[in-house]
Symmetry: C2
Subunit: 199 residues, 2 copies
């Protein structure tokens, strides 16, 4: 993929984080990326196509940094103790006030909100959601190997949906970040205790 194309996608994620999917103007995107409007239409079909590509791009980028996070733990000595700590770390990764994370979370929330009115965006979204739930369920399974698969999936669905709810509140300024992180940590504890109680 060309550098320009990638630069446009990076810029699109930035602009979406600033203005929302609905507020994204092709002209502002062009300025942010340092290219002309016409070039954007050359590289992408139209505005909707651009949005679809940006969704995929943000999605990949999130997977990439989750993977890096997981890999980074291995060589170092401070590898988090067990599967539980890794799960906690993975989920709290999305609740951080770093430009990159905030950008991803905002873009993701926007695209989910847009999908309510634009069925074209749903495919990608549903796929990402299933993968995300499965990953969390797997990590829960490592922590609680005796818990039934269905219970793990249900817990994972609750935890990821909660994460999205907390993230939305944080980004819309009605819940401080530290509170969101605390609620998330507590929820993991509560869910794990619940899974333990099923035996």
């Amino acid at each position: 993929m060309s550098d320009r194309r990638t630069a446009i996608l990076e810029a699109a994620a930035t602009v979406i984080a600033r203005r929302g999917v609905r507020g994204l103007r092709v002209e502002e995107l062009a300025e942010e990326a340092g290219v002309s409007k016409a070039l954007i239409y050359y590289h992408f079909e139209d505005r909707t196509g651009l949005l679809r590509r940006t969704l995929a791009f943000v999605n990949n980028r999130a997977e990439r940094y989750t993977a890096e996070q997981a890999a980074a733990g291995q060589p170092a000595a401070e590898t988090p103790a067990g599967p539980l700590s890794r799960l906690e770390q993975a989920l709290l990764l999305e609740l951080q006030d770093l430009p990159h994370v905030r950008e991803n979370s905002t873009a993701w929330g926007e695209l989910r909100a847009s999908a309510v009115f634009d069925p074209e965006l749903r495919g990608e979204l549903a796929l990402a959601s299933v993968i995300w739930v499965r990953e969390v369920a797997d990590q829960l399974g490592e922590a609680r190997p005796t818990a039934p698969e269905s219970a793990l999936t249900a817990s994972a669905e609750r935890l990821t949906a909660l994460l999205e709810g907390l993230s939305a509140r944080w980004l819309s300024g009605i819940l401080p970040l530290t509170d969101a992180r605390t609620r998330m940590r507590e929820a993991i504890g509560v869910e794990v205790a619940h899974l333990a109680g099923l035996d």
Copy 2:
């Protein structure tokens, strides 16, 4: 408040549920409300002002039907058994495929999403959130009178945030309604068990 004004606000909620906040066109709203565009500008400052008023309106309406729901239980014989059933009913109220509920949930989700980029919308949102959390915390307190206040509030924050997360997934078509309702019921059970375990 004039009938016309209210009719416009009702129509605005309907159109927002159909097209989203960004998709709301003053012309479509005028048709929906059966009035001219100019009348909308006569009654409301501008498009942004209209949106602010609609947020307040939807907010009030949601409180109203929650209250009605609570009141409706009293005279009838089929009042749900205990405080727990009432809590469950209150939370599941937002996860129903009825035009009215879907409209409120969609409009609410849209306005929350918009608040990420428009600080003007945040005040109303934050207030509604606090009230909602408090109500749920109170109902949890009735079910578990010995649980500490802080734990009740934390549980309520998790449950309401989860509800918003599940609602967003349902409305964006990536989670079937029945699943969302099941996850919500399970979460209430898990949280109540957690509160019981604190004694």
